[in-house]
Symmetry: C2
Subunit: 280 residues, 2 copies
């Protein structure tokens, strides 16, 4: 079993040092709880509600920043995987909404959000590479960020690449929902796990920021599609998840989520350009 922890945190807007302390403490707390994997929210180094690229750039960090270095030091100390969101200043000067994938050996990969939500388009440059799928001591993992999860083409692609766990730093703005229902983003996470027989762990955030409320939807879904742990409050959410289950795509002896695909019929998914859809 793999012990996955998500930390549902409230960052301090634009305060790198406060968020450094917050996140390092959060990783330490998860490590003390025996976590093999810790997921931190989207943009947890900086907060989210930027009004401009310049404002984001002022707190954007490079991949050699000491904050990520401290995350890596904690990962090495406790031999765990850390996946967390940060506001990245690229070598190209652009500002990205990124996630760091770290294990005991250090920074393994950086993913830049491919699907920017709403006003993020006015602040960030979208990524231009697929989420990395990497082998770690905790299993074969990948990361995407928030709205990315709502594109089944992307979640399927990483599952086809063998990801056993999809780790999702997120900032889900609060939307109304019918009483008794889980957040719709969580429903999507459950379906994503079910369809792909891949664990999905989403670390959401808390804390009013510039008037914006958040869903606080942190949820860990096992590879069978059922919720292993969830919380709508602050702090640690933790579950033991069988990632080996993600290696077998069978629903039954003769039904196989991947083997039963008929990709020769799926061309529309990859070939219909976004612009054509938008114009519809």
């Amino acid at each position: 079993m793999t012990r996955i922890a998500c930390q549902q945190l409230a960052p301090v807007f634009a305060d790198l040092d406060a968020n450094r302390r917050l996140t390092v403490g959060a990783i330490q707390e998860a490590a003390a709880a025996g976590a093999d994997v810790v997921v931190l929210p989207e943009l947890i180094t900086s907060g989210y509600m930027f009004e401009s690229t310049d404002e984001a750039r002022a707190v954007a960090i490079g991949t050699d920043d000491p904050i990520l270095g401290e995350w890596a030091a904690e990962a090495a100390l406790a031999d765990l995987v850390v996946v967390g969101g940060f506001c990245e200043r690229g070598e190209d000067g652009m500002v990205y909404n990124s996630a760091a994938l770290i294990d005991a050996s250090g920074l393994r990969a950086v993913y830049r959000k491919l699907h920017l939500w709403d006003r993020e388009k006015l602040v960030f440059t979208p990524g231009s590479e697929l989420p990395p799928v990497i082998d770690t001591p905790a299993g074969r993992i990948t990361a995407m960020i928030c709205y990315d999860l709502e594109f089944p083409e992307l979640t399927r692609a990483v599952a086809l690449a063998g990801a056993q766990a999809l780790l999702v730093p997120t900032n889900w703005p609060l939307f109304p929902r019918p009483e008794g229902e889980r957040p719709s983003e969580v429903v999507v996470g459950m379906a994503t796990a079910r369809l792909n027989r891949m664990a999905v762990a989403c670390a959401d955030r808390m804390g009013l920021e510039r008037g914006q409320e958040w869903t606080g939807g942190t949820t860990i879904v096992a590879a069978d599609g059922w919720v292993a742990a969830e919380s709508r409050g602050p702090g640690l959410v933790i579950a033991d998840v069988d990632l080996d289950a993600a290696l077998d795509k069978h629903f039954t002896e003769l039904a196989d989520a991947f083997g039963d695909r008929r990709p020769e019929y799926y061309a529309a998914v990859a070939s219909v350009p976004a612009a054509a859809n938008a114009a519809r």
Copy 2:
């Protein structure tokens, strides 16, 4: 608003005449309730638990069969759309797990299940055409069958083709699930609606058949991803659903489920062959 009805029925195994009466009565009941669309379960003309192709062939019907003719007559009388599953004997002599799409003008299209579940592979020939997406008086609709819904490539494809409502005749065999949870197939239907901003209506079945129990998971999901009506018991499930909502793919002013797609990154979905996945 479009009034969608699903009929959660228990067919009589291999009794074409009993199922003719059952389904005609079910359409009449839905029509009396003001339905614009009626969805009947998978293989509702025949039942499901065939042990061989020969056994299925014995009750397979052509598209000119009087049963579909009676469905069409009811559709014409009440000016409604009927989508229902039937055991089809093709002109090629093969036996298909099919759905008829009927409106007041008659049989508009037949869809043959692309993704055969489990032992269906030993009985039926899989389809070789995408689900038809057709304009009807009730809106632009499509149909797929049961396990098809678990392939997001296919649900996305019909949404990209403009389907406002995905109508799903289904026979969901009963699987255990955590207390208080909806069936996992319903969770998938909700996510499919949310992601594609397309209504999804699934008509499941009841009735023990050759020892097999069924989920009885009939659910109508609106284009916003929330359940409009559901029942775990027999009979009519009905909801008024705004299908115009499916014409607008915006989540917010600047977030667009289709416009935000980045298909240049989705090639893996269409290009990784099923055989390669199965061998993984």
